[in-house]
Amino acid sequence: MTVKKRTPEVKQKKLTIQDLAKIRDKAKATMTIRDGEGRGRVTVHMGTCGIAAGAREIMNALLDQLSKSKVKDVIVTTSGCAGFCRREPMATVEIKGHPPVKYVDLTPAKIRQIVKKHVLGGHLVVEYALAIGSETTY
């Protein structure tokens, strides 16, 4: 009898389905964003130019800061090249009831500040803003 050789799968303590369901239910109870009740949306520009300029670190700093601040009603998404590659990394912040604001030449520290002041505080960070407005996102 031949024993079928199997690729060793790395064993690690996995979250059980129940654990995940629990986390999910807890999240759902406090969640409202995708139902349109959210406070706003932050779009990180992830074209080739944005990525080469450091958009990934901006995205991760943004996610980290939002989750540290326990913010759950902000949608985070990406868009392509906005045609202004020289000022990448860029992000657009849209808060409900306010015009969208485009921030340029970002660093992880800047986006953390933008989360604190603009997304949470409602005050636009003038020093980092390019203009008010938005391009099409996908």
């Binding site: 369901a21 995708r34 990934r56 540290k68």
Partner: protein, 181 residues
């Protein structure tokens, strides 16, 4: 220019997102014995016509109404510089596959580096998409599926702090166990 392969991967996957894919698979295979590193990215997006596919590796071809389209050409160039190459297979309305091969020990081969950052940026930037990530290092395998953390996409995918941390931790420990950080 992209500093490492994980950035190229992020870029190509963003293409798949833009092509309206709902399921995207990233597979990395590192095989030192065969001196080979392969990256495969496949999606079920809208694909390309034969005519577009032929020109997709041309840096001055794009479908997005601008002058350049550098994502795929940069990846292909990096692979070719390392004694490998990139292959694009696509079927309209069914999806696209990109496979890039690198000589593992080639002096010019970019390092992979931050796969955790690439995957978290993708998964939490597009929680509605079903991401699967498989990484094999000399026979050891790590697998990750965004659905395990985000559940059914129709039931409010979210940026929930605990889910974000759980997914990140899972990626970090999983990659560490196969010898990648």
């Amino acid at each position: 220019m992209m500093e490492d392969l994980s950035l190229h991967i992020l870029d190509i996957v963003e293409n798949a997102v833009a092509a309206d894919a709902t399921r995207i698979t990233v597979t990395i295979n590192e095989n030192e014995r065969r001196n080979l590193l392969t990256v495969r990215i496949s999606d079920n997006g809208r694909g390309m016509s034969k005519k577009d596919a032929r020109r997709a590796l041309d840096p001055f071809f794009t479908t997005k109404g601008k002058r350049t389209g550098l994502g795929l050409p940069l990846l292909a160039q990096a692979a070719e510089h390392c004694g490998g190459g990139a292959v694009l297979t696509t079927v309209p309305n069914q999806g696209t596959k990109v496979a890039a091969r690198f000589r593992y020990r080639h002096i010019d081969r970019p390092p992979l580096t931050a796969m955790v950052a690439t995957i978290t940026a993708l998964v939490f930037g597009h929680p509605e998409i079903d991401f699967r990530y498989g990484h094999r290092v000399n026979g050891l395998v790590f697998r990750f599926a965004s659905r395990e953390f985000l559940g059914d996409p129709r039931s409010t995918p979210c940026l929930c702090p605990s889910i974000f941390r759980a997914a990140k931790k899972n990626l970090q420990t999983g990659l560490k166990k196969i010898g990648r950080t």
